[in-house]
């Protein structure tokens, strides 16, 4: 089919179902895809109020809107420098694709989130973090520059010097500053597709904090935490620390993936079944194992092996609550939050604890130095009131909630958690971004 004609057919705006990973809320909207900057500029000129949408892997409503720009067709690699490990690509390329292409050449992502099914644009807009945040910072640390399309269709290159304000606003800016077009990403050299993993059981929260400190030199560290255990075992965890292995094949072993074929009835997940799971998971983990060789896929993306795992929360969907507290108040705050969660009996089996390194200069990036806790809740009555209550605790201790996971926080919680919000908001106004880009989230939290 010839392209000149295709562009017209593509100027679509057709109605479609738009969902994020939490599958709550369920919305419909108009989708606009593009393969060239010309098409994109035409979309922006003709319409107002977009949010870019990549893989739909953010959990809440940050990529939902009545009109979305679909970025997945804008997915070409532009250049690769095999000496420096620098790849220049369009923003719709997924991290999964980058791994498949470059791992066998000895390069891996410097920073990777817990799923590889996100686009490069999404990774920048959420300024995602990974198990090495305490060493390597956020995803934006591996971004040398990116090109951004502004509301008026102008394309500007942003890095830490040129258009610094746009760089700081866009990395972590939830797609509210324009459309990220291309980016230069610095990859990290690796010798193997395996991780040397050390697994340590921690008896309670205090023990977990100590083990994190002990393993602070580990390149990667994260802990699974049992949110429902009480008393002496409150906050018992399994810490996983890892280093890139220097032995083992450079090709990933082919793994069979399974998929959840349909929504599970929501009664499958209740406090009893979750308690059972947590108990078995904790007991199954070794007391202490050092340097076991784990495929990188298993270490970084355990859940990617299960297609549509979000279906286990049933039709109504779920939300992930991820908060961080400053290091000084982390223990006290988390201790209190765990009390609340276990007495409410609403926690889930996918709960994660991690110690972050220092925060960066981006206006809306989530991580700050301290402990972060992330856990899933299926959507149920009483939940949002309960989470509001947790918000108060988080705010009181000087922490914040992760925008990429959020679907319900109040403007007040947001503004207290992100003190640079007004700088961000002023910049949006200055460039006319608030006239062109919005999401359900941005409307809700008032930015």
């Amino acid at each position: 089919m010839d392209h000149a004609r295709a562009v017209n057919i593509l100027a679509d705006g057709e109605k479609m179902n738009i969902e994020s990973w939490g599958r709550y809320p369920k919305t419909t909207g108009e989708g606009y895809s593009f393969e060239t900057v010309k098409t994109l500029a035409a979309h922006l000129e003709k319409n107002n109020m977009f949010i870019p949408y990549g893989m739909g892997r953010s959990y809440g409503d940050s990529a939902l809107n009545e009109k979305v720009i679909l970025t997945r067709r804008y997915d070409k690699l532009i250049q690769f420098d095999p000496e420096q490990g620098i790849v220049i690509c369009e923003s719709g390329v997924t991290l999964d694709e980058l791994i498949r292409i470059f791992l066998k050449k000895g390069w891996f992502l410097s920073v990777t989130p817990g799923t590889k099914f996100v686009t490069v644009g999404g990774a920048i807009a959420s300024d995602v973090h990974g198990k090495n945040h305490h060493k390597a910072g956020c995803f934006s640390n591996s971004v040398l520059w990116f090109d951004l399309m502004l509301p008026d269709g102008r394309i500007v290159r942003c890095d830490r010097e040129k258009n610094r304000d746009l760089f700081l606003a866009t990395a972590g800016g939830m797609g509210l500053t324009g459309i990220i077009l291309t980016a230069a990403i610095k990859l990290k050299p690796v010798k193997s597709a395996y991780i040397r993993e050390t697994v340590v059981r921690c008896n309670n929260l205090k023990d977990a904090f100590e083990k994190f400190e002990i393993h602070e030199d580990a390149t990667y560290s994260v802990a699974w935490i049992d949110c429902l255990s009480k008393g002496k075992a409150k906050g018992r965890s399994v810490l996983m620390a890892g280093e890139n292995a220097s032995t083992g094949a450079i090709d990933l072993p082919r793994k069979r993936t399974v998929s959840i074929p349909l929504d599970l009835p929501s009664f499958c997940l209740n406090s009893f079944s979750v308690k059972c799971f947590n108990h078995l998971y904790y007991m199954k983990s070794p007391q202490y194992t050092e340097n076991r060789l784990t495929p990188l896929d298993t270490f970084f993306y355990p859940l990617d092996a299960i297609g549509h795992w979000n279906r286990i929360y049933g039709k109504k969907g779920f939300t992930q609550y991820q908060m961080v507290l400053p290091k000084a108040s982390s223990f006290e705050g988390l201790d209190l939050i765990l009390d609340k969660i276990s007495s409410a009996g609403m926690g889930s089996f996918l709960a994660v604890l991690k110690l972050f390194g220092p925060q960066n200069d981006n206006y809306l990036s989530f991580p700050m130095e301290g402990y972060t806790l992330a856990l899933d809740f299926k959507i149920q009555s009483r939940l949002f009131a309960f989470l509001d209550h947790l918000d108060d605790i988080v705010t009181d201790y000087g922490g914040r909630i992760y925008l990429t996971k959020d679907v319900r926080m109040s403007p007040d919680t947001f503004k207290k958690g992100y003190p640079a919000w007004d700088t961000f908001s002023a910049l949006r106004q200055h460039y006319g971004m608030n006239q062109k880009f919005q999401s359900l989230q941005s409307k809700r939290i008032g930015v």
Binding site: L77, I78, I101
Partner: protein, 243 residues
């Protein structure tokens, strides 16, 4: 192995180029009209699969250029995948013969013109595979798109004749009959989700047909059975249906 994709900016053409680069380590010629997009795609495939990818300008309806286009290829292809085509607009085409001609010229005359050039070379070399993307719409005329269908029907007939001619010379011809595919061509159309293939699925079917030396394939496979039913309806009944 060298692969020539005619209509490489089409979603199926692009997906097929990617797949053959990956699975067959084929060097690819990407031919189409929009060079900006084509250059991006060529660079992308070359980086991904470490093969040679060359963008080439090709206009299906500029018949006089076809011979020169092919002569200019430094290394002649071993496989040709013909992916260009336009859906057009049935109502426009009914009222306006110039639009009807556009549909026929692109889907059929253009295909014939370039394939004759290629067939001559393949016949001489006694080697090569030609894969033509036709459509199930060409199997029976329906009121909603019979002009497009007629052009594709002509293409299918042409491909079967070409297969007959070249079979004795060691040249293989594959006719691909897709049903619904989710592409730029069908963007904005309300397609039944379960019956609609992705370009990548179609590319996989094309690759399988290439490996197994199939003559005619339906993609997705169930279209074979759907079309068996549709073609089996007696004309006296069929003419009353609104399909």
């Amino acid at each position: 192995m060298n692969l020539l994709i005619l209509g490489a900016n089409s979603d199926v053409g692009y997906a097929t180029a990617r797949l053959f680069a990956e699975r067959e380590r084929a060097n690819v010629y990407l031919a189409s009209r929009n060079m900006d997009l084509l250059e991006k795609k060529a660079t992308d495939i070359a980086i991904r699969h470490q093969i040679k990818a060359t963008p080439l300008f090709f206009d299906a309806t500029d018949y006089d250029t076809h011979q020169l286009f092919y002569t200019n290829l430094e290394i002649k292809p071993d496989i040709v995948v013909l992916c260009f085509g336009i859906l057009g607009n049935q109502e426009d085409a009914q009222k306006n013969v110039s639009h009807a001609r556009e549909v026929i010229d692109t889907n059929f005359t253009g295909a014939l013109s370039i394939l004759e050039v290629i067939a001559e070379d393949f016949e001489k070399r006694g080697h090569g595979v030609i894969i033509g993307i036709s459509s199930v719409a060409g199997l029976r005329g329906r009121q909603s798109n019979y002009i497009y269908g007629a052009a594709k029907g002509a293409l299918s007939t042409y491909l079967s004749g070409l297969r007959n001619r070249l079979a004795k010379r060691g040249v293989h011809v594959v006719t691909v009959l897709p049903g619904f595919i989710n592409t730029k061509m069908t963007d904005g159309m309300d397609l039944p989700e379960k019956l609609t293939a992705t370009p990548d699925q179609v590319a996989l079917d094309i690759h399988k047909a290439f490996q197994k030396k199939k003559n005619i394939i339906y993609t997705r496979w169930f279209w074979k059975w759907i079309m068996l039913i549709i073609r089996g309806i007696p004309e006296t009944i069929f003419k009353r249906l609104s399909l």
